[in-house]
Symmetry: C2
Subunit: 258 residues, 2 copies
């Protein structure tokens, strides 16, 4: 019998979120599961790490099963670092993050705690995938995600991922029958147009709530946004070498040393 | 007389940090300066944004001069969003972030609040540069940075930057005479090997401090780490389209839809 893979599970909505409970239940059918996840929601945390504060990690027992679970006071990136250095006895075969309540497609990847955890694992040389469902509700229905998530994780375990590449998977909020399949995509050139809702405190001080509209200006049919709008699950390979290699030659023509 | 450029200044060490005070004083020699910066240090915040909390922005008066300054309760990315939507009367000609107290070279770009502010401006279509000095001390000496920072900003104002590209500039902690020049680089493949310092609270509860060693495994002489170790200022063009385009073809050979 082949050795079961060791699977590290984390997220950014917190260890009690239905999305990570779903992901844990799917991963238990594939391998040995260790969970290290934030003790409270960390959405929009980007790739934050905790430098100026202490970190707590406590074993917790939430659902039945053989998995080991730890709740951590830090960010998603902290959770991955702590898992690797302090809680796992060996390097995991894969790290899965999510299932996020809400989209991490296109530019959202930049702000995403879910993806920062996957990227952190990628930096450590661990194959990693972030999963998100396009439904922000806590009561989101994750049923349709099961088989697709399992297929993607099994493929990553079988094929591996090259150093420096992690997968950003977004799942449309559709029933299983309506999902047309899985599509490999590029990140759409889309962004948020923020609007700040300006209010006054009871004491009369101005304050703001961040709100915004998502705008996709990318007409391409090879993007994650196109796939999701057309009923597909999007898989975008992403990298954390941010170098804009195509622009180095131009910069070398500037007169920076005159 | 040509119209003076409008320059948005921000950082992640907080509006009172010597690094941003230096950057403001340099920018005042180039154009009209508006500052929107965090009211307290935000290092290691990555690309965090404030979704579940309110934001305060207050005009402040710190140094003499014609600049307008606002202190903001949010993250560096929040500051840029608020500046653009609420505080600036027109789109700035450039956004500069820093000068950070400490390196944001190689993989540090991922964790950097300084660079997240520059990236946020880049997403908004504003030419943007993040500056960092390789000295974490609050009392760091920024004197040597003046002329180099000015040269880079003037070049960006003259040449522009293409959509989707921002500059990550790191400056070695050397006297002006010892700095050999400015070098265009790629992001080194380096990472942190974390070590957690495990302690006990007075009440006996375990907690951790994140610490770590920086490890550069990249032997290339075209990297930012090489440049900095050899006395050069590194300029890395970075992008926020994270797609690993080179891996799309391989992923299309996987059997994800069988």
């Amino acid at each position: 019998m082949t050795k079961k893979p060791l699977i590290l599970v984390t997220n950014d909505d917190g260890i009690n979120a239905p999305g990570i409970r779903t992901l844990i239940s799917i991963m238990k059918t594939i391998g040995d599961v260790v969970v290290v996840a934030p003790d409270s929601p960390q959405s929009g945390m980007g790739h934050a790490i905790t430098l100026d504060s202490t970190l707590y990690v406590e074993q917790v027992f939430i659902d039945d099963g053989p998995q080991t679970e730890y709740s951590c006071s830090g960010t998603p990136a902290d959770c991955v670092k702590l898992a690797i250095r302090e809680k796992l006895t060996r390097k995991p075969d894969i790290c899965v993050s999510g299932i996020n309540h809400g989209s991490n497609s296109s530019i959202n990847v930049i702000y995403s705690g879910t993806m920062s955890a996957a990227i952190e694992a990628g930096i450590e040389g661990i194959p990693a995938v972030g999963f998100s469902l396009l439904d922000y509700a806590w009561s989101a229905n994750f049923e349709a995600t099961h088989d697709f998530v399992k297929t993607i994780v099994e493929n990553v375990l079988n094929q591996g991922l090259p150093n420096g590449v992690v997968l950003n998977v977004n799942i449309p909020n559709l029933s299983k029958e309506k999902i047309k399949g899985i599509k490999i995509c590029r990140q759409a050139k889309a962004n948020w147009v923020e609007e700040f809702d300006k209010r006054k405190t009871p004491q009369g001080r101005d304050y703001y709530w961040l709100t915004g509209k998502f705008v996709n200006l990318d007409g391409g049919e090879d993007t994650d946004e196109w796939a999701l709008e057309n009923g597909y699950i999007s898989v975008v390979p992403i990298q954390f070498d941010l170098t804009a290699h195509h622009y180095i030659q131009t910069l070398n023509t500037w007169n920076l040393n005159d």
